[in-house]
Amino acid sequence: MRLKRYTLVAMFIILALVFAGCAQATPEPAEEPAGGEPAGVEEPAEGKVFTIGVLGPFTGPSARTGEEFRTSSEMALEAIDYTIGDYTIEVVWIDSQSDPEKATRAYEEAIVQDGVQAGAINWHSSVSVAVMEVTAKHKVPHFFGFGATEVVNEKFESDPEKYGYWTSKGWPTPVKLTVGYVEALEGAIAAGVWTPESKTVAIYGEDTDWGRSFGEGLAGQLEEVGWEVVDRQYFPIEQTEFYPTLNSFKDQGVALVAGTSTAPPSISAFIKQADEVGLESLIIADGLGWVGEWYDLTGDASNYVIDQIPGFASDAAKEFAAAFEEKSGLQPSPSSGGLSFDGMNFFIKVLQTTYADFGELSKETVYQTVQDKVWTGELTYTAEDGAIVMQEYNFSDPPDPIVGGDYYTFPVLQYMDGDQVYIFPESIAESDLMVP
């Protein structure tokens, strides 16, 4: 009897499984992508829908950054009420989970299953490089991906015809920006503000394209001006124990410890433990300020730490920050929330231009606009358009944005008691380099 009952239960489970499998078989066109706007907003009369994908690490170690992408993208789209012409914009949130393979699968699914026609944003370079294959395969233009490193550029240039669908980067290669650190430090040494015993540096970083590209880029630039790189340590993105590494740096007596991590727990643990073991070197922690709550995580251990992030300077930017915080309860960081807001708005501008030119939104027309207008520098996005972080986003030399004072630039700053103090470039510097 008992056996019979179990048989029944098990058969029921199997049947349920089969039915669930078949249930999916009937496509549900009216289905809303999760997290999108409420279904009521849609205008049923028009019924023209353009589906875009927003790629980001919505779960996983960089989920906090993903959260900022999501909020700022929503804010940008809400401003146009999810409509461009007679098109309703539908958003599919593509979760990269900070993993190239998962991102690839998710992106491909978003294209074939949800009908994504164009994409925007992205965080890691490793994800970019992997996903470029998908965008190339399905000929879906992707805009303003944040994966910054050379590998993305190299892949883009290896076959612009094919990989051009990864149309633009929201972040230039690290080397273009790290030069700011080198200039700031060299300037301080020349001015006698900082007198390191020896010009030795230890490089650290998360073991991703970003971490390695940043580390090697900076190492090369430092070596050029006479620094000696005595150690290199790259660690898994989820690493939180750095005592051995830091003690080894300490024992080597390096003057400078420079590197990056995009994962807040990791970089904050690094800073805290550096303070704990009494590391006396000056620390460059690129990315510490990328989350709004950096001071909650590190406390005063972050004093004197050098970082390079843009700020919310203009009134529009401050307005954005306030609105952002109200919406999500998170403090936006200029480099993820702010930049992605600008990126999304630029993307909307591209879509609007496409619609004006062709009267039709499709992956082909959007890509045509990118080729005709964005890559030629005809279509840019400037502070006058509403850009809040940079003066002007210009992709006339794709895929990187044009870097420079009037375009895209990151100032160098130091943290002190929870505040950011700009130290470079001189035009905005509030203080000299501070040495403990």
């Binding site: 098990a10 058969m11 669930a20 249930a23 999916q24 979760d95 690839t104 370079s125 073991d207 991703t208």
Partner: protein, 348 residues
């Protein structure tokens, strides 16, 4: 003369059928299984399964199905859980991908070359776990898996570590249908080979070792040979399937080799029924569809599908250790045994 020829006629009539039956039995082909295969093969043309995203799920399901076949070959027979299974998958995948990237070797050849390191490592692991029993062998294979994962992550010069290794795909097509037939063919090769082996005297030896290694040894079975053979073969197939993974998804990261991937295969294989070879494969299709359905529809609740995984595994383990395979056997036995009984009952 006529009599003679008619006798000859029936003899000829019977022989091929018997032979086919015998052959079918040898390779574990049953009418139901054949029917399932036929359904599976025409599925990509039947709406709604002809849509690309459902085809993707079908490919994913078939890949898991093939893996559970290889997994059960060891777990269900010699009773050793290879907890580092995913790592061997990764070894095969990485090998094939690296050969393609660095030497331009076609994926079609690469996936077979990928079998070699997987099999060698499987052979070594088989030897390593030989002295250990039950859970200790599982732990050992787990550690081997972890070590391989760690190496893959750290040998960045070779594997690009967490940056992910791009592998060329088999075909330059956006369609998933050809891939489906490739993986179903691979699945069938896996099934037929392993079934053929377990239906031969090897199967008996495996089971004997799995149940009581000392008793098996006492009755003249050499456990060393059979265990190592089994392990090597399992890992070889894992490596082969890993090659498909690499050239289908086009990107490999060390995450593929993580324990969670093994757990996935293990769960489906156990729900399918240990020691059946086909149980896990059969279960994989509805299971993967359910999981994917939940995952893509419940993005508000990420991970709910995995909870279901765990729950089902626990429920099956506690309440119905035989899994799906046992359900099938029970039903089949009912049908074959009951029908005459029912007739007599009706007569009463």
């Amino acid at each position: 003369m006529t009599q003679n020829s008619s006798v000859k006629y029936t003899y000829e009539e019977q022989e091929p059928i018997e032979r086919i039956k015998r052959l079918a039995k040898k390779f574990g082909i049953s009418p139901v299984g054949l029917l399932s295969l036929v359904i599976l093969l025409i599925l990509p043309f039947i709406p709604p399964f002809n849509q690309e995203h459902l085809l993707r799920w079908l490919v994913g399901a078939a890949l898991i199905a093939a893996q559970t076949i290889a997994f059960d070959f060891t777990t269900g027979y010699i009773n050793v859980v290879n907890f580092g299974f995913a790592a061997f998958l990764g070894v095969g995948g990485y090998t094939s991908a690296l050969l393609a990237v660095n030497f331009g070797i076609s994926p079609w050849i690469g996936i077979f070359l990928g079998v070699i390191p997987s099999a060698v490592l499987g052979f070594l692991t088989g030897i390593l776990t030989l002295r250990l029993r039950g859970i200790f062998a599982a732990l050992m294979s787990w550690f081997v898996g972890l070590a391989l994962l760690g190496l893959t992550r750290n040998l960045t010069e070779l594997t690009r570590g967490p940056l992910g290794l791009n592998a060329p795909t088999f075909l330059e097509t956006a369609s998933n249908r050809p891939y489906f037939y490739i993986i179903v063919a691979m699945m069938m090769v896996t099934y037929l080979t392993l079934r053929w082996i377990t239906n031969a005297h090897y199967g008996l030896a495996f089971r004997a070792i799995g149940q009581n290694i000392d008793a098996a040894r006492a009755s003249g079975i050499n456990p060393t040979y059979y265990r190592v053979f089994n392990f090597t073969l399992q890992c070889a197939f894992a490596g082969w399937l890993g090659g498909f993974y690499a050239h289908y998804y086009g990107i490999l990261t060390p995450a593929l080799m993580a324990t969670s991937h093994t757990v996935e295969v293990l769960a489906i294989s156990y729900v399918g029924g240990r020691g059946s070879i086909w149980g896990g494969a059969f279960t994989a299709f509805p299971f993967v569809f359910l999981i994917e359905f939940l995952r893509s529809n419940l993005t508000e609740l990420p991970g709910l599908h995995l909870i279901l995984y765990g729950l089902l595994l626990i429920l099956v383990m506690i309440f119905y250790p035989g899994g799906v395979a046992q359900v099938y056997d029970t039903i089949r036995d009912r049908i074959t045994n009951r029908s005459p009984q029912n007739q007599s009952a009706a007569a009463d």
